[in-house]
């Protein structure tokens, strides 16, 4: 069973952290990713550039509209993702709670990925 961990963070809060703290979190982050690679849970993952670099497409008034910015104006922005293979939700949650950005204001959304061969 695959789960997507969507890592969200308030970018202004993140930018307001000191350099030393940001470096520390990123170092822990490397450790976290190496950990899930080693344990065999890791399938894919990546860190996203700032939400200010986002471009959103959507249908509006009968045509495709391209706009600057993320799809939703929220305080927290998607900052990265991990795709992991787990036995069940509890295992996915146990991994998600180790993500180091949680202690600096981050939030992690855990979503099961539908198996296209299932049912």
């Amino acid at each position: 069973m695959q789960y997507m961990l969507l890592c969200c963070i308030d970018e202004s809060g993140w930018n307001a952290l000191g350099n030393a703290e940001r470096d520390q979190v990123m170092k822990e982050y490397d450790g976290f990713v190496q950990g899930i690679v080693k344990s065999g849970h890791y399938r894919a993952g990546g860190r996203l550039d700032s939400a200010t670099t986002a471009t959103t497409l959507r249908w509006g008034r009968g045509r495709l509209v391209t706009t600057d910015g993320p799809f939703a104006e929220t305080k927290e922005q998607l900052g990265g993702y991990h795709l992991i293979e787990c036995r069940d939700l509890d295992e996915a949650l146990a991994i998600a709670r180790r993500i180091p950005t949680l202690r600096v204001g981050g939030a992690i959304e855990v979503r099961p990925v539908l198996d296209p061969t299932h049912d």
């Binding site: 036995r87 069940d88 939700l89 509890d90 855990v110």
Partner: protein
């Protein structure tokens, strides 16, 4: 034993084991429903089976497996079903009930869904019964349960008792749900008395099960004790006209001695062997109230100390409010009033009501009247409103 009684007593236990076997809550529910329907037809004709529970569980399991076979075409799935069919089950396994309640109270489900699902599956209440108890339309309640089951299935919420490191946190969620069910039955100002009593007894039944299956978890005992001690006083909290009777004025001879003795003994055991949890401390406080022969004998000093312990575990202005009242009763109303002055609980009628009561006891009637008016402006429950109005009239009559 008739079928209805069997349903009440065994439904949740049988269902819990079936879910483990067929690995799906909905399939297990459907199969068990069919098994009960078959029993209703067959038993009167063929006589009661020697082991009715084994009959039901076997019938339900066979129905579930038939249903799965009919639905499944994929070869690889068929092997899985054969594995299921090979499992021997003819009795509910207690651990399965624990698995079920932990699944129903999984933190990834919303609280109201946890409550509804627990009552529906573990307790076997019908959707209509639960909807009535919580004053929501049956369709809303049904949808809540359907969504929760879909999430359990879709997100693969495991059917397991959490491992040691997660147990404390997960058990806290389970106990919260159980206490919520109890409080809904105990304090709700709506709904028939019968429905409310049913919720209280279901909550007590759940807590008994938790105590049995998790004997090392002292908070289970604490919660069971707390609920028994409250429930023992249920009949005396209102008079024949439905008016509120304060703890001080309740007829103690009508309290349920059996529940008090059991609750007090459990509370004592819950407190022993390490730092106590919040339910255990609350149970100890309830036990001190319940075991005082008359109101004047209440050990307020110890109650005040226990509230201080509780505030240490669970800091909250509501706990501080209760502590202030206990301090007032133990050490004088002025000291209690001084503690109340420091509290801020906007919109909470019990704060001005507590102030009013202490001022009334001190004979400061004009101030008491003001405080009763402030409480009346915030109170929601009709019986409480009438009680506060009576007190307001009493103190107003003494103001000159």
């Amino acid at each position: 034993m008739n079928l209805e009684e069997l349903h009440r007593r065994e439904y949740g236990r049988i269902l819990a084991t079936l879910i483990r076997v067929v690995r799906d809550i909905g399939d297990a529910e459907d199969a068990l429903q069919e098994a009960f329907a078959a029993a209703m037809v067959q038993w009167p004709k063929e006589g009661l089976p020697r082991n009715p529970v084994a009959w039901l569980i076997t019938a339900a399991r066979n129905k579930a497996i038939d249903q799965l076979r009919r639905r499944t075409l994929a070869e690889e799935k068929k092997k899985e079903i054969a594995e299921l069919a090979a499992q021997e089950v003819d009795a509910p396994v207690p651990l399965d009930s624990l698995r079920l309640i932990f699944t129903c109270c999984h933190p990834s489900l919303a609280r109201e869904a946890q409550v509804a699902l627990t009552l529906r599956t573990v307790c076997g209440l019908t959707t209509e019964e639960i909807a009535r108890a919580f004053l929501v339309p049956p369709a809303t309640l049904a949808q809540r349960i359907v969504r929760a089951k879909a999430k359990i299935k879709g997100a693969h919420i495991p059917y397991e008792v959490p491992e040691d490191e997660a147990l404390a946190e997960r058990l806290a969620a389970v106990l919260t749900v159980v206490y919520l069910v109890f409080n809904e039955g105990y304090t709700a100002s709506f709904g028939s008395d019968l429905v409310r009593k049913e919720l209280c007894s279901e909550a007590i039944r759940l807590a008994r099960m938790l105590c049995e299956l998790l004997p090392a978890e002292r908070e289970c005992k604490g919660l069971l004790a707390l609920m028994l001690l409250h429930d023992a006083r249920r009949e005396t909290r209102t008079d024949a006209h439905g008016e509120v009777v304060t703890l001080e004025d309740q007829d103690r001879s009508r309290w349920d001695r059996g529940k008090i003795d059991e609750g007090a003994a459990l509370a004592e055991r819950a407190l022993r062997g390490g730092p106590p949890g919040e339910y255990s401390v609350q149970a100890a406080i309830a036990a001190l109230h319940a075991t005082a022969a008359k109101a004047a004998d209440t050990d307020w000093r110890q109650i005040a100390e226990l509230y201080a312990v509780l505030a240490g575990i669970y800091p909250s202005p509501v706990v501080e409010l209760n502590r202030a009242v206990a301090v007032a009763m133990a050490h004088g109303c002025e000291r209690g009033l001084a503690l109340l002055e420091r509290l801020e609980l906007p919109g909470y009628y019990l704060l001005p009501a507590a102030r009013a009561d202490l001022l009334r006891r001190l004979g400061r009637n004009a101030e008491a009247a003001d405080a009763y008016r402030a409480a009346l402006a915030l109170v929601g429950n009709d019986a409480e409103r009438r009680f506060l109005s009576r007190r307001l009239a009493e103190v107003s009559a003494r103001v000159h």
